[in-house]
């Protein structure tokens, strides 16, 4: 961040924290921190590296899928949505892990908190900034995916039309319908929203870990472990609640995993959506609410721990 931008952020904060019209909670202050966080994060090389890798992988999915058209669309969608899921999760962890340590190192944190900015506003502004950045990344990667899918679908449609030029119209219509149904499926969109919610959850959890971590490397390593364990949480939970024959240590371990970790498998719906399973509104709403619930809880806990942190 340049000195000019720091000054502009501080001006915005000054405007909302002046003694005359000070309010204990102000959206303008959170907004200033959010915009500052987004600006700061978009200037990180890691953001562009991850985004470019994601886009390259989505683009290259065309070349990975040179089989018959049904298999081609299957692989194209699997690889592209897998890339979106991987890179948004990575970005959520890497971008959030550096927020607090970097602000402490740059001393920006002290400048902000020296003003009448409550700590929860600071944390809220930071996490909102990360969530905004994740939304931008998801939209960019999702847009690239839909563009690749549409381009490929059009190419296959033209090839099929050329190949079937002498066939009866009903056969041609049937072939085109099959191609269209194997390419784009409206359920992919809620699937992408759920990928985004999973990234939000990971960002909030990373923020919570970073409030008591000593460095951003430590946060990233801890989050890598949490990521894998949280994917096993459902198995541990079922085993803990159903099995009664295992030893005490095993049961305590399973209980810890079941109680302390979120169930990340609940957000891996996109594989089945690509396979043709329709997602109902109820299922989407319940999964989304669970994602928002986790994100809120971890943000609140991060705020609570941050209040007790000696700076």
């Amino acid at each position: 961040m340049t000195n000019g931008e720091k000054a502009s952020t501080l001006e915005q904060l000054n405007a909302s924290t002046s003694a005359k019209r000070y309010r204990p909670f102000a959206f303008s202050r959170i907004y200033a921190i959010t915009i500052n966080t987004v600006t700061e994060l978009t200037r990180l090389k890691v953001f562009y590296v991850l985004l470019i890798f994601g886009l390259v992988l989505i683009g290259s999915s065309i070349f990975m899928a040179q089989f018959s058209f049904q298999q081609e669309f299957q692989i194209l969608k699997d690889v592209s949505l897998g890339a979106i899921s991987l890179f948004t999760s990575l970005l959520a962890i890497v971008a959030t892990a550096r927020l607090l340590p970097q602000d402490i190192e740059d001393r920006t944190l002290y400048t902000i908190l020296a003003k009448p900015v409550p700590r929860f506003e600071y944390v809220l502004g930071k996490i909102t900034g990360v969530l905004l950045l994740l939304a931008i990344s998801t939209v960019v990667m999702g847009g690239a995916f839909l563009l690749v899918l549409y381009t490929r679908e059009q190419a296959v449609l033209h090839t099929t039309l050329r190949q079937m030029s002498g066939a009866p119209p009903d056969q041609i219509a049937d072939a085109l319908r099959v191609i269209r149904s194997s390419a784009f499926n409206i359920d992919i969109l809620p699937g992408i929203v759920i990928i985004y919610l999973k990234a939000c959850l990971l960002a909030a959890l990373t923020l919570f870990v970073s409030t008591f971590a000593t460095s951003n490397i430590f946060t990233i390593v801890v989050m890598a472990f949490i990521y894998f364990i949280a994917h096993l949480q459902a198995t541990a939970r079922e085993y803990w609640l159903q099995e009664h024959g295992s030893g005490l240590i095993t049961r305590v371990f399973l209980a810890v995993v079941a109680l302390f970790f979120p169930d990340l498998q609940a957000f891996n719906l996109v594989d089945d959506i690509v396979a043709g399973t329709a997602i109902s509104l109820t299922l989407f709403a319940k999964t989304a609410v669970l994602g928002i619930f986790y994100t809120t809880i971890y943000t609140l806990l991060a705020t609570f721990v941050f209040y007790g942190k000696e700076l």
């Binding site: 990975m64 089989f67 049904q70 298999q71 299957q74 692989i75 699997d78 690889v79 949505l81 897998g82 899921s85 991987l86 999973k198 990521y227 894998f228 994917h231 096993l232 459902a234 198995t235 939970r237 609640l241 079941a258 109680l259 302390f260 169930d263 990340l264 498998q265 609940a266 957000f267 891996n268 719906l269 996109v270 594989d271 089945d272 690509v274 396979a275 043709g276 399973t277 329709a278 997602i279 109902s280 109820t282 299922l283 319940k286 999964t287 669970l290 619930f293 809880i297 806990l301 609570f304 721990v305 209040y307 007790g308």
Partner: protein, 256 residues
């Protein structure tokens, strides 16, 4: 210290509150055919450490696709044993992708069985036929397991009917599975017809087949296709249907 205890207490309370919510959500996911894969030691042994970790982390579709590409290479090299193993892993990882079940069954029952029958290294016909039957059975097994995982979709019922018809020459079973396909929402309009055609080849069930074909015929000109008329005429002869009750169409007349 006090803050840490409070955080831990909150995590435990929230954890206990979220447990029933998560379990309900899993039940809903299963009910709507999501999360069909059980992550257990069997799967770990099948797909290896790296594949298991990737699949566990939410990338099982990509792992399945990578294995599918390997299976494609194995097909090019006619490594049938390796293909069988790879398709078992693929279908375990992605049980809701019909294409994988269908392709696996097609490779086993059509390609591998023919290769086994034409195997120049095996001089004994009996053993070649045995190998061929084993590949038919493997194809059938893929389709049956596929149906078990996707009872709500007609495609695999159709594929199994085709297998019974073309490989086992079992018209009764073929008819049964075409009928099952026709009963599933979203089935192709020809499934009902195909079921009746297959039944018309079954000894002792001609009357039932005739009634079904006649019923289809009565539905209107769209159903009056050359094969349907041909099978009806054949059954009319066989069952000795009186002339005044027979259909008036000529065989092989294409209805527009």
């Amino acid at each position: 210290m006090k803050r840490t205890v409070v955080v831990l207490a909150v995590l435990i309370v929230v954890g206990a509150l979220k447990l029933p919510v998560e379990r309900n959500l899993v039940a809903l996911h299963r009910q709507e055919h999501f999360r069909g894969v059980e992550f257990n030691l069997d799967l770990r042994e099948e797909i290896g450490q790296l594949g298991f970790i990737a699949a566990l982390s939410g990338f099982r579709a990509i792992v399945a696709d990578a294995l599918f590409i390997q299976a494609y290479s194995a097909w090019e090299n006619t490594e049938w044993g390796r293909m069988l193993l790879l398709f078992r892993h693929i279908t375990t990882l992605q049980p809701r992708v019909l294409l994988f079940w269908d392709t696996a069954a097609w490779h086993m029952a059509w390609n591998a069985s023919v290769a086994a029958m034409n195997d120049q290294t095996q001089p004994r016909l009996a053993l070649r036929v045995k190998a061929q039957r084993e590949y038919f059975a493997l194809g059938k097994d893929f389709l049956e397991r596929g149906i078990k995982n996707n009872p709500d979709r007609p495609d695999l019922y159709e594929a199994l009917a085709r297998l019974y018809k073309e490989k086992y020459k079992d018209h009764e079973r073929a008819s049964e599975y075409y009928a099952k396909a026709a009963a599933v929402p979203g089935a192709a309009p020809w499934d009902r017809r195909f079921s009746a055609y297959e039944l018309s080849y079954c000894e002792g069930r001609e009357r039932e087949a005739y009634d079904r074909l006649r019923h289809l015929y009565e539905e209107g000109p769209k159903e009056r296709l050359p094969t349907l008329i041909k099978r009806l005429k054949f059954l009319e002869e066989k069952l000795g249907i009186p002339q005044d009750q027979r259909i008036q169409e000529k065989e092989n007349k294409v209805v527009k």
